[in-house]
Symmetry: C2
Subunit: 267 residues, 2 copies
């Protein structure tokens, strides 16, 4: 047994959807979350910068004595995971792309799948590459949906604007006959109902967050590192105190948590 | 006569709409533009951080020997102008809020005006405060429109999504019977046609960019600092080479310009 917390981080607040899944799957684990709200978004930055920012965050999480880390951000997972693993060889790190790919391959029947994400994630080709490596003959249709993050942050998760935007972005994927779609951005589960209505009931929505939480649970169980603490001990840190954190936190976790501001550039 | 260039800067690419107005009003002036594309957006950051970033940019522009500077960003104008003036007392600096306020007061007949901008600009209350100081009895209705910047950057400037979003945001302003509206964000002129259709012909759209360019012209004329160079000498610098610069540059300036990447944190 290991009662130290699990660390999670994201460029901003989207990673809270991963915290939600961790709480659901492992209710007795303590968590420490860091959201880089002063430097969000990462999607428009170079790989070098994203890796540098992520290293600082991992050093911060280590200072909080975390036993393992989930990269709750698709941009970091897609661009910086290998470099971070090399830099922190003793820290168990789980990213979100691989679990998302595994869930998608388990879900698809016709081997036609969609991937949606930010420009940086779709541009990296990480999902497409891993899907094709793991499943021969799979057809992958990717689409960057840059408006989904600002829509979610504005609280427009299923209004007319969200629905029209989802129809505009997703038509070319549904036209291809996909039977499953990966939410390749941790903000997108906030729009799940809206996306589901547009793609239709026959298309399975794959949220890598749940698969990543299950992968972490498996790792901790296998290494005798699971915790047995009290429920509900969750700590949140941000690099800037913006109203978005409170808004998304209440929406995703159905509870208000205090977030503490720290100077991440010191790490 | 002073043939040194005019400097302009913005958190990203929105300030290109101000460059456009400067070229229109002063075709013989050379310009140097800096867009902080690696740290965009400023709207979610604290005043302290925005001022620190802006100081670095002004030091960079000084290294390019500019004779005067336009702050082509409403967030910086609203939050950091006074501090920057103190830090750089010898540099003529023009911000966009005051010229916007003056144009709006000249335009309104019924003294009911709307102000739209980012969360940071509307939250600062800078337009509302200056409008009320300059015009007794004026009624100001402000509305933050966070989706307008991502819509413009996505190229959705007048499609169904842009129209529906504009109707959703602007209804509460038109319901108040405003007769003029200030575009309090340098991205918003990209959506001018769409905004115009929603507010109707009777509402005058005030773009502070034009007023800021005219104010700079007046300053240079009065101080015998106008230039008489060749047309079309315009230089562009960014902190990250993103596709957004090329897209918005072609759209706003109707011409492709090369942007050079520099390390702004060194300044």
């Amino acid at each position: 047994m290991d009662n130290r917390p699990i660390g999670l981080f994201d460029s901003g607040v989207g990673g809270l959807t991963v915290v939600k899944q961790v709480i659901k799957v492992m209710p007795k684990e303590e968590t420490v979350y860091f959201g880089d709200t002063a430097r969000v978004p990462y999607g428009s930055k170079t790989k070098e910068t994203v890796t540098k920012f992520s290293s600082q965050i991992i050093r911060f999480l280590k200072s909080k004595d975390v036993k393992a880390i989930i990269i709750a951000c698709n941009t970091v997972s897609s661009n910086s995971y290998e470099d971070l693993k090399k830099e922190f060889p003793d820290m168990p790190i789980i990213e979100v792309v691989t679990p998302g790919v595994e869930s998608c391959i388990a879900a698809t029947k016709n081997k036609k799948v969609g991937v949606i994400g930010t420009l940086a994630t779709v541009g990296s080709g990480s999902y497409e590459k891993k899907l094709k490596e793991s499943c021969e003959g799979i057809e992958v249709y990717s689409k960057a949906c840059p408006l989904f993050v600002p829509l979610a942050e504005e609280g427009f998760t299923n209004n007319d604007i969200a629905k029209l935007t989802a129809r505009t972005y997703l038509k070319e994927l549904t036209d291809k006959g996909i039977d499953s779609i990966i939410l390749g951005c941790t903000h997108y589960p906030l729009l799940k109902t809206c996306i589901g209505e547009v793609v239709g009931e026959s298309v399975k929505i794959v949220d890598p967050a749940k698969a990543a939480a299950l992968k972490m649970k498996k790792y901790l169980d296998e290494h005798d590192m699971s915790g047995g603490g009290e429920e509900g001990r969750h700590y949140f840190y941000v690099s800037d105190l913006t109203p978005t954190f409170d808004m998304i936190c209440s929406k995703v976790l159905k509870k208000s948590y205090h977030a503490e501001k720290i100077d991440i550039e010191k790490y």
